[in-house]
């Protein structure tokens, strides 16, 4: 079957270590979410207020805020990755809809946990 060499193990280890390091920052509950389109902030959601918002660009994303988390409830984009992403509530978590050029990211004011800023 598969015979791996020493270099193969080091590649696999390196990739996994990179991934784990990037996952490390402790996630804490967020209090607001920002919707970006084309890199520009479009709308800020207060996660403590349940609401629904329809965002239209090339496609339509139906965004729902409920019980402190935000999700894309429905969308007519071709891949529907944004819908499959489910709900997010922790600071730093993101939902992307590449076809619609949309990024939704959760923030918190408690502590600066952003490792990567855009």
């Amino acid at each position: 079957m598969i015979k791996l060499k020493i270099g193969d193990y080091s590649i696999i280890a390196a990739v996994i270590i990179c991934a784990v390091i990037m996952l490390m920052p402790a996630k804490q509950a967020g209090d607001r979410a920002v919707l970006y389109c084309d890199g520009k902030p479009v709308k800020t959601f207060d996660l403590s207020v349940d609401t629904e918002f329809v965002f239209e660009n090339d496609y339509v994303n139906i965004i729902t805020v409920k019980n402190g988390s935000i999700l894309v409830r429905d969308a007519d984009c071709p891949d529907r990755v944004c819908v499959y992403s489910g709900k997010i509530s922790k600071s730093g978590q993101t939902i992307c809809c590449l076809p619609n050029k949309v990024v939704i990211r959760v923030f918190t004011d408690n502590k600066e946990t952003d490792v990567i800023s855009g």
Binding site: I11, V15, Y36, G39, L98
Partner: protein, 163 residues
């Protein structure tokens, strides 16, 4: 030269076919990350890289990315695919020079990981937002599995098929 070019045409067609078939595997419903896929076309490209050469593999990669993009997913995905494809091809080309250290599986994992990175890099430039890098860890972990799978398949192909 002419024979190699003709063979590359066949391999390019094969790469387009496996990319098309792959679209019917709904991997993004299981792991909801943009741009996630098995990368079966990498079997074809890695095979061409090993058996024929770098420039032929690069041309197969470009033809496959552009054609699949035009057929199904649009201009932006062509750019993601080309950026990832070039990075993957370069790293696989470099690692193939150290055959004592690396087997095809390891080289394929490295290619898959670099493809993920290139895709995310292109997407973050296009979206104008670095936030999408948050998806990179998940993509990298998936790359290990998809890379091993495609590497294993390529290993079998390289042993059994003469070009």
């Amino acid at each position: 030269m002419i024979a190699k070019t003709a063979k590359c045409g066949v391999f390019a067609a094969l790469a387009i076919i496996v990319s098309t078939l792959e679209r019917f595997i709904p991997l993004q419903a299981v792991v909801p990350v943009p741009g996630i896929k098995l990368g079966l076309a990498n079997c074809v490209i890695l095979f061409v890289l090993i058996k024929i050469g770098f420039f032929y593999a690069a041309s197969v990669m470009i033809i496959k990315s552009v054609t699949v993009g035009i057929l199904f997913s649009g201009l932006s995905s062509i750019i993601f695919s080309l950026t990832g494809g070039f990075l993957a091809l370069l790293v696989m080309f470099v690692l193939l020079n150290f055959k004592k250290l690396f087997s095809i599986c390891g080289i394929s994992v490295a290619g898959a990981a670099l493809h993920s990175f290139g895709q995310i890099l292109a997407a973050s430039v296009m979206l104008g937002s670095g936030y999408i890098f948050g998806y990179l860890p998940v993509l990298l972990l998936i790359s290990v599995f998809t890379g091993l799978l495609t590497g294993f398949l390529t290993q079998i192909l390289v042993e059994r098929i003469e070009v």
